[in-house]
Symmetry: D3
Subunit: 262 residues, 6 copies
């Protein structure tokens, strides 16, 4: 089994940067995988990707060097196990608000005795090799999402759950939970204090704090102490670039590349 590059970042203290896949097509996933980032996460929660479409995407990410992760739609053992058996090297699990929910996420991710994951690594036995069972509990990442007031209140308990490697902040859901609108809340003390509280809690327990961000937000997030930061997402980047091209064409913006498309 190969080392999980994401875990190497975590081990040596390098911040891990990642990309987000929301389009159900293996070509855009390959583009994400070839960016040289530390992880690419297939979003089967909000992205337009279900399990059947996710399989060739996990394969395509493997054409690059990033760790393939899957954000599952919900904290359910069925889809967590299926995603790992297709070759995801970790799962991001939405809306983990309590220690019990974190334990459930871990249980679905780890083989006994650490958890209750069922054995059947149909693809990893080929892509990772014969020692998959022996090493999977060490290499596969379990990453609950902390994105509500309740989760922050339970942060110590969540971080204390053995097998929680990192927590991942959904800033939009966190903002909504705090009574804010999704979007730019950088000037909202409630919001930035919540981020600080999460980073602090993670530090106390040796858990990696991660967050959904953007390229422009990266510097700030690193400064705030996050060590796993998503900097781009396919459909968001695509929509922005298309809008830019239309603005350039309409003359409302300059710049761009003078080569024809292809």
């Amino acid at each position: 089994m190969r080392d999980n590059p994401l875990r190497r970042c975590w081990a040596d203290g390098t911040p891990a940067l990642g990309a987000w896949a929301t389009l159900p097509t293996s070509f855009s996933a390959e583009l994400l995988g070839r960016l040289g980032l530390d992880y690419v996460c297939i979003d089967t929660q909000h992205g337009l990707i279900g399990y059947d479409e996710s399989v060739p995407l996990i394969q395509a990410i493997g054409l690059g060097s990033s760790t393939p992760l899957v954000r599952v739609p919900w904290n359910e053992p069925g889809i967590i196990g299926k995603s790992l058996d297709a070759g995801a090297m970790g799962v991001i699990v939405p809306m983990v608000n309590t220690a019990a929910e974190a334990e459930a996420a871990v249980a679905a991710t780890r083989y006994p005795p650490a958890g209750r994951r069922s054995f059947g690594p149909i693809r990893p036995r080929h892509s990772e090799g014969d020692d998959y069972f022996a090493r999977a509990n060490l290499e596969v990442a379990c990453i609950p999402m902390v994105e509500t007031v309740q989760a922050i209140e339970n942060l110590d308990a969540i971080c204390e759950v053995p097998g929680v490697d990192a927590v991942y902040v959904g800033p939009s859901d966190l903002a909504v939970s705090l009574g804010l609108a999704p979007g730019d809340n950088e000037a909202e003390a409630r919001f930035t204090e919540a981020l600080a509280a999460i980073v602090d809690g993670c530090r106390r327990h040796g858990v990696v704090p991660g967050i959904h961000a953007s390229a422009a937000l990266l510097a700030r997030r690193l400064e705030q102490g996050f060590r796993m930061v998503t900097i781009t997402a396919d459909s968001v980047a695509l929509a922005r670039a298309l809008r830019e091209d239309v603005e350039t064409a309409r003359g409302t913006s300059g710049g761009g590349d003078a080569h024809a498309l292809y």
Copy 2:
């Protein structure tokens, strides 16, 4: 049957701007269709899209107001007919080098007596209505590609073929045919003279000159006389935006949007 917006541009002299679909997923096609451009062309020649994947893309483009076109893989009546029967309102036909090839493209696009298209508008009878047969020959666009030295030599003959509405230049293939490499050939006289010759030839015959370009090239192309200009393509825009985000994150570029991704 609805008027073809692309034809309206052509009729009133407004330049038609368009986008290019190469990703086999209906969501990115919908994004292209919502840009407010005059046409969106599904590239089943070089794009990673075959016929089966093209059908929901044609539908998705219909959620916006652009004319859905299909670039077929080759000048073959089977795929031209199938694309139109799925609702494309025009076809771009690669590598039309002679009048005979242009006649074949027209024949596949037009019902008799103007051509030899077979009748069976399985989707347009629902999406366009009962008068599809009566109006299709007037509304559906036949757009041969002129992209070789041979085609330029035969340009008058190609443009004289009744039913050729526009020609579309593939600048990369044209450059290669001229002995240049694909890419930025704006400083190459051979290349710019070839473009000028195509525009002139089109003008002589009342045929619309179109070209694969980019947002940045649009102004020049309009100045050169092109009236149908593709300004963006999904996978090209996506790759550029991802690269920008990585550069921003790596600190090798500034800027970007300070909102989290979503």
Copy 3:
């Protein structure tokens, strides 16, 4: 964000008529969407449609004017959220038998503080616009199914759950729960009394009573007080029409259309 046409029916007292999609192909969904009905519901419970297939169907329904709904397979927040993030403007949730189950359905459908839906409207941000977050809780419909004796017993409690817009009766399941066989139970007092009880309960709480029916049953259902009535379903209509054609051909039935097929 566009107004939800289904909600407009409810607001102005017009009965809402709808169609049901069970075939996993975007063309039949487009046909349903073009019928001019008030809603089209993609059945991912009993229909042969899973999440991955549902996405282009939701898009295709958008080519018409009907509200796209999804019947989810079960009362689970993951699939409810995913369906809404793909652009469904409401969910029909099977087998809601208690107020707690209705609360769970609402929680999965509404953003905080009304519920616990996670934010990430990957498609609606494009198809509905930037005010989606602000308006989604008002426009998106949450429609629990009331289809058991237990649910009728708990009807007041279910209808009192804030955020329940309508309830939808599955007459087959209701019949089975009453000890009857699925099918024509119009002459069974147990059945018709149950329907009456549901309509009455809805009226007491300002909740819209909906039901799975057929075109022939519509008049009766409207008379009984239902205000959301499904009148056709793709695979049911298809099977009937094929059977009719075979009977016509075998000479066991007359009639039909003397035009060739196409």
Copy 4:
């Protein structure tokens, strides 16, 4: 290898009745296959079905007893061979206007020395058995379409091509070729005389005359001498039945089934 039921009809003089598949989903194909008709043809010319989607449809038709046919998009050996290797027991080949085109269709359908079909029956070796090579040339049907004035002029030559089992009339294309509009041309002498000429020509050469029709047209077509008649098509039947249901619901039509949908 199983006997081809369609050939049995032809051998014993029974008229063969068939259905047409245009929807790219294996469930509707299964419904067609279970109608008890003699053949089901997957329309990859005008139907919304390409090769990749056609494979599970061919399998699904096999759940019933009908002969699976494929109408290919065009007279091309690649797609004819692929369709047969997926298990089609015959091909309907559009727009065969000359003996040379008929010979090409036969060549693509028959193994040498009767033709030039390439050997590789990847699915029939399992679905039909080890004697597939020995019997395929006898069982697989080659059915050129005769649907233009030119084809009628060449009918004798076409029918004389060894290996042409039947010809199939596309009445819409025939009408268009005759200068008529597609639709009901039963009162047009040009049209009915063309049909008569085709039937007569077939009789002279022992070739089966087939035609695209409808359930209502069947009796007339049999009387005219056709022995292979398509009586229904999935999307046509579906659209009609949906329209009927809407008309029933709107009160503009009576009748219908008083059972709920399911």
Copy 5:
């Protein structure tokens, strides 16, 4: 409705042999279905198959005579119902460790009053016929998996749940639960005693003991008393055969078939 061949085996005491589908393609499923075994199970837990891909596989298995089963990803009523409505004649339900979990599995599999399955047999009404509702509770198999120490402790309670037809042992998960590694544990007393305990428990309650095995293990498993034994799986067989061919080619193994591939 057809008799379920698997149930006939159980009724007459014949051991039932089966195959396992893990590849998401209907052709390999057809190959499995044509092996002449008693059941073919589509593994949507560990196999690379989600619901959308499973539908044409269930259809393809129907081309042979084996009972189509689905192993669901988890003990959830949504996916159990969907799999049955697509035509599975039974479900294998992972990780059933308690009587309550067995009851939940049965409830999702049986119509009331035996369970709480929702009515909507969208495909079986066509593939099985009009008496599906009347007979489904008798024919459809509910097969919980017994694969943990906890489940063995609760075996009597699980087997006593009315509607449990068989239990199915996952030997890898059982081994892991016993503190062993997955793989060959035939020499481990803990393991073989656990198998014996399961067979004995089943016998006490008239429940069929089933197990995941291999062709080579079949004799031993039958001797141990198992009456439902899976002897092959597509991806496992494929990987072995490919490895054999490479070894033969590399000269590290002899044998093989001297015919060219096809």
Copy 6:
């Protein structure tokens, strides 16, 4: 751009061994790609794979080190170009019987001036890099099939066509062309003499002789002088292994692996 491993074999005289993909699923393609062979060819002629399904297979093969090839359905520039633009590093072109047909295959494979391939390497620009255009004509392989008596007669002319890298023998089609049945023709002088003639012709022109074989036939084929030999195919290997497992289980064969499946 990476070196094409297949070309390295050819350059250094090592025989190239390969595998054949016929199943339309990216997991089995990945298994083939991980065998350590020199090439894996996706068969879109006889395999159950069309263009849309082929794209993720080409990607999946890239997870190993083998050269991805595509056998196209026919000698058509459209599909040859599409397959290369999806990342195939060579094409095998069926039924090339004349020098003119070989020239057409080369023209579709090579950029001008060596051929007429259209420029648009939508995936290779990412998977192979910016020098793709500069190096593609050197790295991409053009492999016509020689599989008829006519082709052998024209062998010198075919091999003399500049840009023909190898020829590939389809032994079944060759046998049929020789008047034999497909299958084991090793004892037929006509057949073995034809193979010898092909190898000799290739040697005269510095063209690599390749052939469809099997693991067991490899030694003989190498001895006969072939330098590109396909030794296994997914569906053939799968069917054999399944049959073996059934025979082992039925007791009509011994052996096998005593581990449970997984």
